[in-house]
């Protein structure tokens, strides 16, 4: 199992991802076979560098994986993130349309190499080593060098602490007693070949037992209906990786907050916090409606159904409420039903920020004070998540919760922070933000888009045995 599944490498703050195309199949295979991927078992303390590799469906095709094997991968993965009807339903249209992406559409990558290191010097050295190693068989696609730049205190570029709600995972998740999920999520939600929250196995790619190389893979677990016949489990210890490069318009974000606060209602930082669902220091609005804590917070054990059913503290349409509605899905569902359903749509996030900070302090007050573009630099977030079922987890959340104009009790809202915007005269506009309040709510209409999707793809992060199988000679 690749180590990325069990850890996010908080201790390796420097990272770069290379999006590559195969130019020489034999050389690419050699490189993949000899790549020293960091295994999950390797202790974190003994590590200065971590290496991971993931492949797209195009990459597997290019490596001539047999068609009968390829067909067992999930449909979402095979079609790709930029398949037209998928783009529409995910909200990857208009400003986010694949035709406008910097990478992932005009030239889809085959392979993604992910390098993490303890320092910039160590990262550079490892990158040079890898470039020399893959150079004969792979080349970078246009804009394929994905640099990252960690912001202290877990912040993302708008100035909010991020990555607080990563779900605890049975068997390998870290527990700090501060989670919403008191029972850890089943590992099969995030790794193929293990029991998931349905107490079954997610569909996993397989190899016929009689095929060359199948003997080196573990057998499929006996399952109710999938696969229909015993086979070798190519997915075991692997998973799917969803990657989306999101550019963040930081000056635009804070300029909007400043403008709207001048029109009355709430202070700019409060309005931004209402959209996010947490204060910049990470404290949740549900438990700190007035922002009373000054300390950085990882507080995550809060609920919605009783504490804030009408969204008066944390708006129904806020980003964190959409990303994980916890115990309140609405539409007459009980808390128990909501939790049971929401558990089945969790993602393991491994995001990394990129670009320079808009203001070195990352203090929203400073960013507000200078909320005019001062430089023409790209900054944003590499949204990366691990899921065993792209459709049930990532796409469900994106369609039904993030992007839906009628999420919860809403009519025309979208995710205020990361959502795409459908505007009038589209009959299904989602460019409003409803901020519940006493005595009556305030609506923010014609919301601009604060993030733009500029690239993305679905990858398969193979287990170590599967990587060897993929990299073997499959013939024409």
């Amino acid at each position: 199992m690749q180590g990325l599944i069990v850890r996010g490498y908080g201790g390796l703050p420097c990272a770069q991802f290379h999006l590559l195309r195969i130019t020489d199949r034999a050389a690419a295979r050699r490189y993949l076979r000899t790549l020293e991927v960091t295994p999950a078992e390797k202790p974190a303390s003994a590590r200065e560098v971590a290496l991971h590799v993931a492949l797209t469906a195009d990459g597997l095709r290019e490596l001539q994986l047999p068609a009968e094997v390829l067909a067992t991968f999930s449909r979402e993965f095979l079609e790709g993130m930029d398949e037209p009807s998928r783009s529409t339903s995910l909200g990857d249209d208009l400003e986010n349309a694949p035709e406008k992406w910097r990478w992932g559409h005009a030239e889809r990558p085959h392979v993604m190499l992910m390098v993490y290191a303890v320092s910039d010097r160590r990262l550079e050295a490892e990158l040079r080593r890898q470039e020399a190693a893959y150079g004969a068989g792979l080349r970078l696609i246009e804009n394929g060098r994905q640099e990252t730049r960690q912001i202290p205190d877990q912040k993302e570029h708008f100035g909010f602490r991020d990555g607080i709600s990563t779900p605890p995972v049975a068997e390998f998740g870290k527990r700090d007693g501060n989670e919403f999920w008191t029972t850890p999520i089943a590992p099969g939600e995030f790794v193929l070949g293990y029991l998931n929250e349905h107490k079954t196995y997610s569909e996993s790619p397989t190899v016929p037992l009689s095929a060359p190389g199948a003997a080196d893979l573990p057998p499929t677990v006996e399952n109710v209906s999938y696969p229909a016949h015993p086979a070798a489990d190519l997915g075991k210890n692997g998973t799917y990786l969803v990657v989306r490069e999101l550019e963040q318009d930081v000056p635009g974000f804070w300029r909007y907050m400043a403008e709207k606060s001048r029109e009355g209602g709430v202070a700019p930082i409060t309005l931004a916090a209402k959209m996010v669902g947490r204060w910049p220091n990470g404290a949740p609005l549900v438990t700190h409606p007035d922002g009373s804590t000054a300390q950085s917070s990882n507080e995550n054990a809060f609920r919605y159904a009783h504490e804030d059913p009408d969204g008066l503290a944390c708006p129904i349409g806020s980003h964190i409420r959409r990303a994980s509605p916890r115990d309140q899905l609405g539409a007459g569902r009980s808390e128990e039903q909501s939790e049971q359903m929401v558990r089945k749509h969790q993602m393991l996030r491994r995001a990394r920020t990129f670009g320079h900070r808009y203001d070195p302090s990352m203090d929203p007050r400073e960013m507000l004070a200078k909320a005019v573009p001062t430089e023409d630099e790209r900054r944003g977030l590499h949204f990366i998540c691990l899921v065993s079922h792209i459709g049930r987890q990532f796409e469900f959340v994106q369609r039904a919760w993030i992007q839906s104009p009628v999420f919860g009790t809403l009519y025309k809202d979208g995710d205020p922070v990361i959502g795409g915007r459908r505007k009038y005269p589209d009959p299904n506009i989602n460019d409003e933000f409803t901020c519940p309040a006493r005595p009556v709510r305030r609506k923010y209409k014609h919301l601009p888009q604060f993030t733009t999707l500029v690239g993305g793809g679905y990858f398969f992060l193979p287990g170590l045995a599967a990587l060897q199988y993929i990299a073997r000679e499959h013939g024409a």
Partner: protein
């Protein structure tokens, strides 16, 4: 005042041999040119689906290609049929001309009779009650105008500070608008609505209750005298009851045995087909799904399915058999037994894209039991145990596969308010009911304002 009970009207007409493709093409043409089948002008109509159920078989028994026209509507049946014939008669004639037993030159009366003769009973669920299409649209307009009023008042700093004062200001605004003033009058449900919704259960109860009560009383009386006629009647009564129970036990045993023997579970459908389905169901708010499949093996399965659907239909009508059904995100759903219950068709209008919608069914175990009960009959559905156990609960992947396999790319469907979820519709009605209250208390007004 006519009632506004939401019901389904499903017409099934076997297609003339060789005409199925022509009907499909015609339905697609009507979708592209709605004026040729102007459902939009049928006032009582909420949703409509037109599709061809393909020829298939149940075991060795062939099931013919069949045209299905399914509408959901509010109000009396005869009014709906009259509107359909009057407004959409021309297009319907074009369609049914491809069906057996229909004369292309049928008069309006003939067409209405044809619809009635080919109407199929069904289990119909509605997520919104006692609302006409005009109500839905009017409530949406009312809500939008109220929202705009609040936005303006907030911008101009003219909004009062207490909930009751805000409610009064909104009422004054609504009263000042001739096109909204209707909302100040409380909406009342006519008494006829109860009969319209529950008439089937009431009719059955008027037969069953006296029968069972007579049986109990008659049996209790027998030890206290000699009444030969009563003895015969009670004997026959018990015989009838035992006969029904015996038939039910045999039929259930047949289903359980067929469950035990089931080997086939649908696999993953071709990706191209799944992609075509997904592409046809990616509207941001309301989508439509039609799935049809012959039943699984088992000679007694059609009988048990018919009985189960009948009972579920009564529950869906809201009688406390096991409480009124609540299927979140579903505007309408119907289960139609076709070809003498050899085939089951499911049609739904729902909020969300189809794939998340289907996932919703199996995401919690209580719901998955209902799904087994209502969907578990179709060929390829994961193996159930005792009708409601296992199935989608034990094999959610198999459930998704069978739904995708049996779904159709519906040729024609219509929804007059595809931007409103069923939650939106019900919430807007609460807003409308709240504005009709002349003087709410502070708490009531405050709660009402959270709807906005």
């Amino acid at each position: 005042m006519a009632h506004k009970v939401h019901a389904g009207y499903t017409v099934l007409a076997p297609i003339r041999p060789g005409h199925a493709d022509a009907v499909s093409a015609l339905l697609r043409t009507f979708r592209a040119t709605p004026r040729r089948l102007p459902f939009v002008d049928v006032p009582s109509l909420h949703f409509a689906t037109g599709t061809v159920l393909p020829a298939t078989s149940w075991g060795t028994e062939p099931l013919p290609a069949t045209l299905m026209v399914a509408t959901s509507f509010c109000g009396p049946d005869d009014v709906h049929v009259d509107e359909l014939v009057r407004v959409a008669g021309s297009g319907l004639r074009e369609l049914f001309a491809h069906c057996q037993g229909f004369a292309p030159d049928a008069s309006d009366v003939d067409l209405a009779e044809f619809l009635a003769r080919h109407r199929q009973w069904e289990t119909f669920y509605s997520g919104m009650h006692d609302l006409t299409r005009a109500d839905v649209l009017a409530h949406d307009k009312l809500r939008t105008e109220i929202e705009d009023f609040i936005d303006r008042a907030q911008r101009d700093d003219e909004l009062p500070s207490t909930p009751t004062a805000i409610h009064a200001a909104i009422r004054a605004f609504v009263g000042s608008r001739a096109d909204l003033r209707w909302a100040l009058v409380p909406d009342r449900r006519p008494a006829s609505a109860f009969w319209a919704r529950h008439r089937r259960t009431i009719r059955l109860a008027t037969l069953l209750v006296p029968y069972l009560a007579g049986l109990v009383v008659g049996t209790a009386m027998l030890p206290f005298g000699t009444w030969p006629a009563l003895e015969v009647a009670v004997g026959l009564g018990w015989l009838g009851l035992f006969a029904f129970v015996a038939v039910l036990v045999v039929a259930l045993a047949g289903v359980f045995e067929a469950e035990r023997r089931q080997t086939f579970v649908a696999g993953r459908p071709p990706d191209e087909y799944a992609r075509a389905l997904a592409a046809s169901q990616c509207n941001p708010v309301i989508n439509e799904m039609t799935a049809s499949a012959p039943l699984k093996e088992g000679d007694t399965r059609p009988f048990v399915l018919t009985l189960a659907l009948w009972i579920i239909a009564r529950a869906a009508e809201g009688l406390p058999i096991y409480g009124s059904l609540n299927i979140p995100t579903v505007a309408t759903a119907r289960w139609v037994p076709v070809d003498r219950s050899r085939r089951l068709v499911f049609i739904s209008n729902f909020t969300n894209a189809a794939e998340p919608y289907v996932r919703d069914f199996v995401d919690n175990s209580a719901q998955a039991v209902n799904i087994n009960l209502t969907f578990g009959w179709g060929y390829g559905y994961p193996k159930t145990r005792g009708i409601i156990l296992d199935g989608a609960i034990a094999d959610p992947n198999g459930f998704i596969n069978v739904v995708n396999t049996n779904q159709q790319v519906t040729e024609l469907w219509f929804c007059p308010y595809a931007h409103l979820s069923v939650d939106n519709i019900n919430r807007s009605r609460e807003i409308r009911n709240g504005i009709a209250v002349a003087t709410p208390g502070e708490k009531e007004a405050s709660q009402w304002l959270t709807l906005l």
